[in-house]
């Protein structure tokens, strides 16, 4: 093995490569919010690439209010033993002990999520300190790069969770992609100021300018309720889709889940999209983001 070019030790776990690589394997797939082992089975049967184990879906968190926290370990265990696909779970922003517990439970990815009530209004979790990889939300490129600096191995555009209104997901995805295109158009000597404006490290900004993409996988989330929503986000440049309340708050979850999976794979084929959009029954009722008072908008949590 002395001939190997790689300087890394013989065997290593929790490297940036296996964390980011795990997200690469989820690309083109749908990750579904579930609150029970039964829902997790339905999601797996429908072709989900992973499930997000939660106590309440965002629509219920929104309706019921109160402080929202990491799920009960029993409930997460139940979901882990119910399915063979990866299981993710949410920790509050900045709550590194919730993240330690989730890692100890053996979840495959931690979502440091604005859907839960933040535990620290200044600092996010130091995600480099963990073996388990993290996904974080972002509304723009600077936010995405700050999360990557802290060790996030995957980014999702935030959208506005629990609404069934896709407009914020669209805004955030367009914004991130637009800011990447702008960086690509800048001469080298203007990237220093661009980094200052983005409040992100110069090295990362330069890497994005050169590659034309984030150094980690970019999914979308927040308000996706139909196969057409999922396909639109894919056409806008998402590499995969998180669906929260949109599935289990709808009339026929199994059928809708399967339809969103198909629409994500064939996001650029209107004939397939038309076929899978038929006969799905009621979509989740939904709330217009405009009608939510500012303090109740989840996307504005995190910075």
């Amino acid at each position: 093995m002395s001939e190997s070019a790689a300087p890394t030790p013989a065997t290593a776990v929790g490297t940036a490569r296996v964390k980011r690589g795990m997200a690469e394997m989820l690309k083109g797939g749908v990750i579904m919010d579930v609150v029970t082992p039964e829902q997790a089975k339905i999601a797996e049967d429908a072709g989900a690439v992973a499930v997000m184990a939660l106590e309440r879906v965002p629509a219920d968190i929104r309706a019921q209010g109160g402080v929202s926290r990491m799920s009960d370990p029993d409930m997460i265990d139940g979901i882990i033993s119910a399915v063979s696909i990866p299981v993710m779970a949410k920790a509050r922003i900045g709550h590194f002990v919730e993240a330690q517990i989730l890692q100890a439970l053996g979840v495959d990815y931690v979502d440091e999520s604005e859907v839960l009530t933040p535990a620290d209004y200044a600092n996010h979790i130091d995600k480099w300190a963990f073996t388990v990889p993290f996904v974080c939300g972002a509304t723009n490129l600077g936010e995405a790069l700050r999360r990557i600096t802290e060790g996030a191995a995957m980014i999702r555009s935030k959208g506005e969770a629990g609404t069934g209104d896709v407009s914020n997901a669209t805004t955030h995805m367009r914004k991130i992609r637009q800011e990447i295109r702008r960086l690509q158009s800048l001469p080298d000597d203007e990237l220093y100021v661009a980094a200052k404006e983005l409040q992100a490290p110069y090295e990362l900004v330069k890497e994005v300018a050169e590659q034309g993409k984030l150094p980690v996988v970019l999914f979308t989330a927040g308000g996706i309720a139909t196969p057409a929503d999922a396909a639109m986000m894919m056409q806008l440049g998402a590499e995969g889709v998180f669906v929260g309340s949109g599935i289990f708050k709808s009339g026929n979850p199994a059928q809708r889940a399967a339809a969103i999976v198909k629409a994500t794979t064939f996001h650029d084929d209107p004939d397939v999209l038309a076929k899978v959009s038929r006969g799905l029954g009621e979509a989740m009722v939904g709330i217009n983001v405009d009608e939510i008072p500012q303090p109740h908008r989840l996307a504005e949590r995190g910075w």
Binding site: G29, G47, P86, T265, F266
Partner: protein, 201 residues
């Protein structure tokens, strides 16, 4: 020397990385999602991803029969991780309805090394590939528990608790690895596969 056309099954997974690696290895690489697109390729890569999802989508979008037919007719196929599972005739710890292609006579165990916190990087020496051991990336990876008489074992884990586990095999024109060479920038295995495709034409 003509450039072989190699498809990457693009239903779900790290398609872009395989397309990039194949292109770097001298192939004309393209994503394949439909039976018509399969007809145009000389070889196929089944990428890393979630094998339960890929297996389902293969049936829904009617790709199973065309791929099985091409495999029977000798088309070279390379599968990494989920792709290895898709090429196994028998899968342990999978879903009961999970089915792979009529591929390699082997039994594969899904998520055999453990969950994501157990995912790792380690060197693996591969028979038939020059230039020293591979720096292999294993992500919720499978291993091979049984191989049939026609299957050649190309690589095993060298140390640690899973030492000696089989992680790379070949049967005729079918090649499978538990790990992901497409994530490392080491193109040797993709070059090896491109040569296999070129030789089979």
């Amino acid at each position: 020397m003509t450039v072989p056309v190699i498809g990457v099954l693009a239903l779900q997974g790290d398609v872009r990385e395989h397309v990039a690696a194949l292109t770097g290895a001298g192939a004309d690489a393209r994503p394949v999602r439909r039976p018509g697109e399969l007809d145009a390729v000389d070889g196929l890569v089944v990428p890393g991803g979630e094998s339960t999802t890929i297996s389902k989508l293969v049936d829904i979008f009617e790709m199973r029969e065309p791929i099985d037919k091409r495999i029977a007719a000798g088309m070279p196929v390379y599968g990494s991780c989920a792709g290895m599972i898709m090429l196994a005739v028998e899968v342990l710890d999978g879903r009961p309805d999970q089915r792979g292609f009529a591929g390699v006579d082997m039994t594969v165990r899904r998520n055999a090394f453990g969950r994501q916190v157990d995912s790792f990087e380690a060197p693996v020496a591969l028979t038939g590939v020059d230039g020293g051991p591979f720096h292999a990336v294993f992500i919720r990876a499978p291993w091979v528990e049984r191989v049939g008489p026609d299957v050649e074992v190309l690589g095993r884990v060298t140390d640690g608790p899973a030492a000696d586990r089989i992680v790379a095999v070949r049967q005729g024109n079918l090649l499978a690895t538990s790990f992901h060479p497409e994530l490392t920038g080491d193109l040797r295995l993709h070059r090896h596969f491109v040569e296999l495709v070129r030789a089979s034409r």
